[in-house]
Symmetry: C2
DNA sequence: TTTATTAACTTTGTAATTCAAAGTACTTTT
DNA sequence: AAAAGTACTTTGAATTACAAAGTTAATAAA
């Protein structure tokens, strides 16, 4: 029995950020409105979780206009994908420890 | 793309409680000292996480004496195991969504 | 041309969570 | 009698999360 909770990434402890990264891992660009709808949170709350992940360099922001409407979309960076993969790895090890 | 962060159990969002349940899921009785050592936290902190899980009916407490020393050990209840399994299920779905 | 609307925030304030440190009760060892 | 061990409880501070309201800048409607 050896436990590694220290290998879990604090950034992904929150269900919202966990959900965001899951989405961004498999979808190249996802916009604000889509994230908000998928995660079912207020826009202010979403904005702050986005800011947290961006500050860590885990996601990037791309602003553009679609037709005449502003549209902001997000993508996971290489570092973000790596960090998330490592987190999932740690999670798996944690859960599977001493099962065999 | 359909996301289910609502199916994640808030009780298991904390790395400490996640670690505790992982341990208790595969070890029938684990005592205070062992948990403390595995999780690397202070005893006060551990005690409060234990209290949180007990309040939810996810773990049970068994007090005994080993020789002359008091020994408290913990075990996951049936409800606790079920809740944890559901949480892991939700986690898996969340992570694997739209991968295929 | 004023007014309303939309998108994506920022700010504010509150509530909840987490944690370490210190204190406590009871017992045992020295 | 003093020190140490076990399993806490209490306290207080720091961090985090969140909703609600306010903001900015652009477009669309009246």
């Amino acid at each position: 029995m050896k436990i590694f909770i220290g290998d879990l990434n604090k950034a992904f402890e929150s269900r919202v950020r966990l959900g965001m990264m899951s989405i961004l891992l498999v979808n190249d660009f996802v916009d604000f409105a889509t994230l908000k709808e998928q995660l079912q949170i207020t826009d202010g709350n979403l904005a702050s979780h986005i800011a947290a992940l961006e500050k860590l360099g885990y996601i990037e922001i791309k602003k553009q206009f679609i037709g005449k409407k502003p549209n902001t979309s997000y993508l996971a960076t290489k570092a973000g994908k790596k960090a998330f993969a490592e987190h999932l790895d740690a999670l798996e090890k944690l859960i599977k420890q001493s099962v065999e």
